[in-house]
């Protein structure tokens, strides 16, 4: 971290602190206040989009742990999110578990089942891991529409309620999603700079060398798989409770590919990456909704024209980013920052 001139770390506590200078405190408090009053500034429609961004960031952050930090490519993230959404739907809808318990339970179960399905991937590397996750994705989406409770029909989810506050209101639900997102970001940020995170990165950079250093590959790969599937389940369940229903359309293979694309475009193995990529694509999505709506007339989300425009745009952007900026938006942002830190004297 770049510190301003004259700021020195003279204790370990200062060295590991996230918020170090007065300016950073001001930015932190200001952004917290901003995000708290944000839903009151915009309408319910945009609040819904913010909730979508938040839950998607949680899912992509899980993918970042597995793909960005541990180096195992996953093509099944949406499937693991489906596990979370369906578990929470069944737990809250059929067993009367309240939201505040059903979501963590769903995330844990999603982590457990996901890790179990990925057991073949533990012994493999590279392309074979991607294939194992792809198979898991297809098995999961095949399985969830054949569950005994409702079959292929969409499950409806109740919205949470606590101390008389009704969270069906998007503004209230926004705060739940925001709290989850901040908590998860904090945990993952800390996790990646402890022994666990360093072990993951060692496995990513050179698994043979990591093993020779005494890192237990099996244990750390299992933990990465678990965290990945846990976060996917959490994001999937949170989104399901907001949307009010889960159906397999939201968790198909195309979503898995998008999540991977979000991550790559955002920047793998960085904390900024999942945020940058998800926000970029969801904003693009909204822009396309408006643009196609302006051309075709009316509200078009879900219509054929819109799906076409979105597929072509997303596909083209994935390809262009891989060809021209494979390290993603996060890298480009770092370059811009370091340029303006020194501007106008670049040496």
């Amino acid at each position: 971290m770049h510190l301003p001139c004259g700021t020195f770390n003279d204790s370990y506590a200062k060295d590991i602190a996230y918020v170090r200078t007065k300016e950073q405190w001001i930015i932190l408090v200001a952004s917290l206040v901003f995000f708290c009053i944000l839903p009151h500034l915009v309408g319910h429609y945009f609040t819904g989009i913010f909730i979508q961004v938040g839950t998607t960031v949680i899912i992509v952050m899980g993918l970042n742990v597995l793909t960005g930090y541990t180096g195992q490519i996953s093509l099944g993230q949406a499937g693991f999110a489906a596990l979370g959404g369906y578990t929470s739907a069944i737990a809250s809808g059929y067993y009367g578990v309240p939201f505040w318990f059903s979501v963590p339970i769903a995330a844990t179960i999603s982590g457990a089942i996901g890790t179990m399905l990925l057991l073949p991937a533990l012994r493999l590397r590279g392309f074979y891991v991607a294939l194992a996750t792809l198979a898991a994705q297809i098995v999961i989406t095949w399985g969830v529409i054949r569950l005994p409770w409702k079959g292929a029909a969409a499950y409806s989810l109740s919205s949470p309620e606590l101390l008389g506050i009704d969270f069906a209101n998007p503004v209230n639900y926004y705060y739940v999603a925001l709290a989850c997102l901040i908590l998860i970001t904090f945990c993952i940020r800390n996790l990646t700079r402890t022994r666990v995170g360093r072990a993951w990165m060692a496995i990513r950079d050179n698994d043979l060398a990591a093993e020779l250093l005494g890192i237990n590959l099996l244990a750390y790969k299992v933990s990465a798989f678990f965290v990945c599937c846990f976060l996917a389940g959490l994001g999937g369940a949170l989104w399901g409770h907001y949307a009010g229903s889960v159906s397999v359309d939201f968790y198909g293979l195309d979503r898995s590919i998008w999540y991977l694309g979000y991550l790559v475009v955002g920047g793998m193995g960085t904390m900024l990456g999942p945020f940058a990529g998800t926000i970029f694509f969801l904003v693009l999505n909204e822009v396309l909704v408006f643009a196609v709506g302006a051309i075709a007339g009316g509200y078009v989300a879900g219509s054929t024209y819109f799906v076409l425009a979105r597929d072509v745009a997303f596909g083209a952007i994935f390809v262009l980013f891989v060809l021209f900026e494979p390290r993603g938006i996060a890298h480009r942002w770092g370059l811009v920052r370091s340029y303006y830190r020194l501007a106008p004297f670049s040496y």
């Binding site: 793909t67 399905l117 072509v312 994935f318």
Partner: protein, 294 residues
Amino acid sequence: MIGQLLITGFIIGLVYGVVALGFVLIYKASGIINLAQGQILMVGGFLGWVFFSQFGLPFPLAFILTLVASFLLGVVIERFFIRHLIGEPLLAIIILTLGLSILMSGIAMIIWGHEVHIYPDFDWLRGTISMFGIGIDRKYVFSFAIAVACLFLFASYFRYASSGIMMRAVADDQLAAQSVGIPIRRVLSNIWGIASLTGGVGGIVLGFLVGVTTFGTPAVGLKVLPIVILGGLESLPGAICGGIIVGIAEMICGFYLDPIVGGGTKDLIPFVLMLGILLFRPYGIFGLVRIERV
């Protein structure tokens, strides 16, 4: 019944095998994993539909035109996208081919829409043929003939044509091939053409059997992955054998398990098979044994 399932499964599997051949060719020659093979298959099928059904050309001419167009598609993909990726990490390759596949699906949907495009039958294709006392749909016999003819042509191309021999040399050892003066770039571009051509063949056959769609055909193309894992990523005969195994397995499981679980087994079985193979024998039946144990 079982005999009929075996034979139709075998024929479908042979077609899968031809498509998987394209995947293996690219992987062997350049180490690039082509996850857009399903979309190439789809485009091939639609091109065939355009030439054969829309323009009303006679079938042999439409077939050849489709193959030429597919070949060009492969060359274009290689020239504009894949060539930049030599030496890039695996993830970049996967994302690029996936991005290409989304792009191709989107463009195909703009042009051809959601409908099932099934080829018009010619007279010979209607009805069944009786073989060993088993009635087989004539469409399957026709597909079998096309697939076998293509396999035969490919085999002789790789064995006798000098450009085919060059391809084998590049697949075997790029450095050695370059040092004896083989133009690697041109060979790689040809290999993408041929791989895409296998997609064209598969697309035409699928167009006769079940029709081409923008959502269903790429899903068929996804089955290439279980097939190549089953056969071994580096093995050309393995791709054919894997295709046949997957074809027969999905026919039999589809027939016997569908009534129990309520349909859809055909799309699941290849991937369950793949999970099993990855667990017990990740290098496949004919692949090189070089998977590191953890």
